[in-house]
């Protein structure tokens, strides 16, 4: 039986190429579209997910993490008084303009954080260090955006909202969904770049003591500061992702792209495998006439489907990983984590078997008398 499934598949090389091309195209399409969606989710909230912050305290009405408004910095003392809070630091996160040496301007997001605690600071660096931010007018940018910001070497200067900024280090892997790069600096400089008085900050970021329950501490802070909004790190990430996903055309487009990728992929696979099975319909009729039970024919068709899925997946995953690697050089991040790659294999097998089920019905409902037609 394996012989028939394998031989049917490999006998007609042209048909095999067409089948595999269909499966590969579908899987690459799904992988890239879904990877774009995952990249979207990652980049839209990575400043939150990589911050190391447990709770975010801000003014009410925050739409997403990049859209905070100023609040009194002294609130940190009220927050510190709440049991379970280990650290509470003022934090600045706001859009600003970066002036390139050419005079052109680029949008950036200034991140001002407390250098002593490091809370909300960069998670990965490839040049310089957080301590370098203790110098005057110093900033860190992500190495990915050096060209975009016109930075060719450390020590080079630009301007943020008209104030001098000297690049003293590079962060790594912090792509921005809004395409406005994150620029890390000290809290003091962050306030200066954003023209905020030292008594104002956008967030109070909180690190909890070991064993403290985030929801309980969050409720206690709300009681302590009624005119504030408090989010756990997970809630802030979800709020930001949901905002960009559902309130902007970009998010809906990415979501629709992933859904359409899945749909088109399934249709392509279904059509390809259906055609491959129908090509052998007379042979299945002969098998039935010879006395083969329907389950024998199911097995032949399903084996062909699983083989097609496995071979198509092997090529598709290689192509998708290449696309993922290439995407790292661009602004649109495509992610293909291992669980998704494995899930894609399961999906490939299920899609191929699912598509075959349609053709199985065709094959098993054949009138075996077809064999008597010349």
């Amino acid at each position: 039986m394996t012989t028939l499934a394998v031989k049917n598949l490999f006998h007609d090389k042209v048909r095999l190429s067409v089948t595999l091309t269909g499966v590969i195209f579908a899987l690459v399409l799904i992988a890239v579209q879904f990877g774009l969606f995952l990249g979207f989710m990652e980049t839209s909230a990575n400043i939150v997910t990589r911050s190391g912050v447990d709770l975010w305290v801000t003014a009410p009405g925050l739409p997403h993490v990049n859209g905070g408004s100023a609040q009194p910095e002294r609130r940190r003392y009220k927050v510190l008084a709440v049991p379970g809070v280990a650290q509470a630091e003022p934090y600045v996160l706001a859009f600003a303009n970066w002036k390139l040496p050419s005079g052109a301007k680029e949008s950036v997001q200034v991140v001002g954080f407390d250098l002593d605690s490091g809370l909300g600071g960069p998670s990965r660096m490839v040049a310089g260090s957080v301590d370098d931010l203790r110098g005057d007018d110093t900033v860190l940018i992500d190495e990915h955006y050096r060209k975009k910001l016109g930075v060719t070497a450390l020590g080079q200067t630009g301007e943020i909202n008209g104030v001098r900024a000297r690049v003293v280090g590079y962060t790594q892997g912090l792509l921005s969904f809004t395409t406005a790069p994150y620029v890390f600096t000290s809290l003091k400089h962050g306030q200066k770049y954003m023209a905020l008085p030292e008594t104002q900050a956008i967030f109070i970021v909180v690190k909890l003591a070991g064993g403290a329950d985030p929801q309980q501490v969050k409720a206690a802070i709300k009681t302590q500061i009624p005119d504030s909004a408090v989010y756990t790190n997970h809630e802030m990430a979800a709020k930001t992702q949901n905002y960009w996903l559902f309130s902007t055309g970009a998010g809906i487009t990415t979501l629709m792209g992933a859904a359409l990728g899945l749909l088109v992929g399934m249709v392509v696979v279904a059509q390809t495998l259906y055609a491959a099975t129908v090509d052998h319909i007379r042979e299945f009729g002969t098998l039935k006439a010879m006395g083969a039970a329907n389950r024998y024919i199911y097995r032949v068709i399903v084996e062909q489907a699983v083989l097609s899925a496995t071979m198509g997946y092997a090529v598709a995953i290689a192509v998708a990983l290449t696309v993922v690697n290439v995407s790292r050089k661009g602004d649109a991040l495509i992610l293909l984590p291992m669980p998704v790659a494995l899930g894609l294999f399961a999906m490939a097998v299920l899609m191929c078997i699912g598509a075959s089920v349609i053709s199985i019905r065709k094959a098993t409902s054949i009138d075996p008398a077809i064999v008597f037609r010349a």
């Binding site: 039986m1 012989t3 028939l4 031989k7 049917n8 490999f10 006998h11 007609d12 007379r282 042979e283 002969t286 098998l287 039935k288 006439a289 010879m290 006395g291 083969a292 039970a293 329907n294 024998y296 075996p368 008398a369 064999v371 008597f372 037609r373 010349a374």
Partner: protein, 232 residues
């Protein structure tokens, strides 16, 4: 002679109401072990339908068809493949070989359906191919065989598992006269030497000299059944 197929008052209708077509009507016929029975008639007369019903490929609308004593009319659809597998070998006008399989594998697959182990299937397939004079062609694909050779592979496949009844639909139609003669001689020897019942549907008058009986069908009815006429 032992009756292997007994048909009584067989009817086969297609469609319903005003559009209903009677393909077979009032057909009664016995097929004996060891005989070559030839069904002849014009196109559309119902002879292939009759062959299909004999072989449990089609279900009769009414009447009785007994295969080796088992009534097949009204039998559940799911039981028919088992009867086909146990009692019948089929030979088709278009050969119906699997193009992706070699001659040997084409025979093996029929044996595997009958639960032969891989080793036994291989041994039996080689013997069957040798019996039809194709021992040296066993590794060839159908595309590399002549029409006569393909039909001999089909005969070897039909004989896989030693069925009691061989049903052949126009087995010589696609063959030249020499190949056709070889094929009919093999079928005839199956009846004479191995006691198989061989039923052949054909238009080909060259087959008639090998027949024990010729049954003529027209408009779905048996119009004449000459007295058994042993040619040999």
């Amino acid at each position: 002679m032992r009756t292997v197929i007994q048909i009584r008052d067989l009817e086969k209708r297609y469609g319903t109401g005003a559009g209903q077509v009677r393909a077979l009507e009032g057909v009664s016929l016995d097929v004996q072990a060891g005989e070559v029975l030839v069904l002849m008639g014009p196109s559309g007369s119902g002879k292939t339908t009759l062959l299909s019903i004999m072989g449990c490929i089609l279900q009769a609308s009414s009447g009785s068809v007994q295969v080796q004593g088992v009534e097949t009319v009204g039998l559940r659809e799911s039981r028919l493949p088992g009867i086909r597998l146990e009692h019948f070998g089929f030979i088709f006008q278009g050969f119906n070989l699997f193009p992706a399989l070699t001659a040997r594998e084409n025979v093996e697959i029929a044996l595997q359906l009958k639960k032969f182990s891989n080793r036994d299937a291989r041994r039996a397939a080689d013997k069957l191919l040798a019996d039809v004079g194709l021992a040296d062609k066993r590794d060839r694909y159908p595309a590399d065989l002549s029409g006569g050779q393909k039909q001999r592979v089909a005969i070897a496949r039909a004989l896989a598992g030693d069925p009691h009844i061989i049903l052949a639909d126009e087995p010589t139609a696609a063959l030249d006269s020499a190949s056709g003669k070889t094929v009919v001689e093999i079928l005839s020897s199956l009846a004479r030497e191995r006691g198989r019942a061989v039923v052949i549907v054909t238009h080909d008058p060259r087959v008639v000299p090998y027949a024990d009986r010729v049954v003529h069908i027209a408009d779905g009815r048996i119009v004449a059944e000459p007295v058994a006429e042993l040619v040999h």
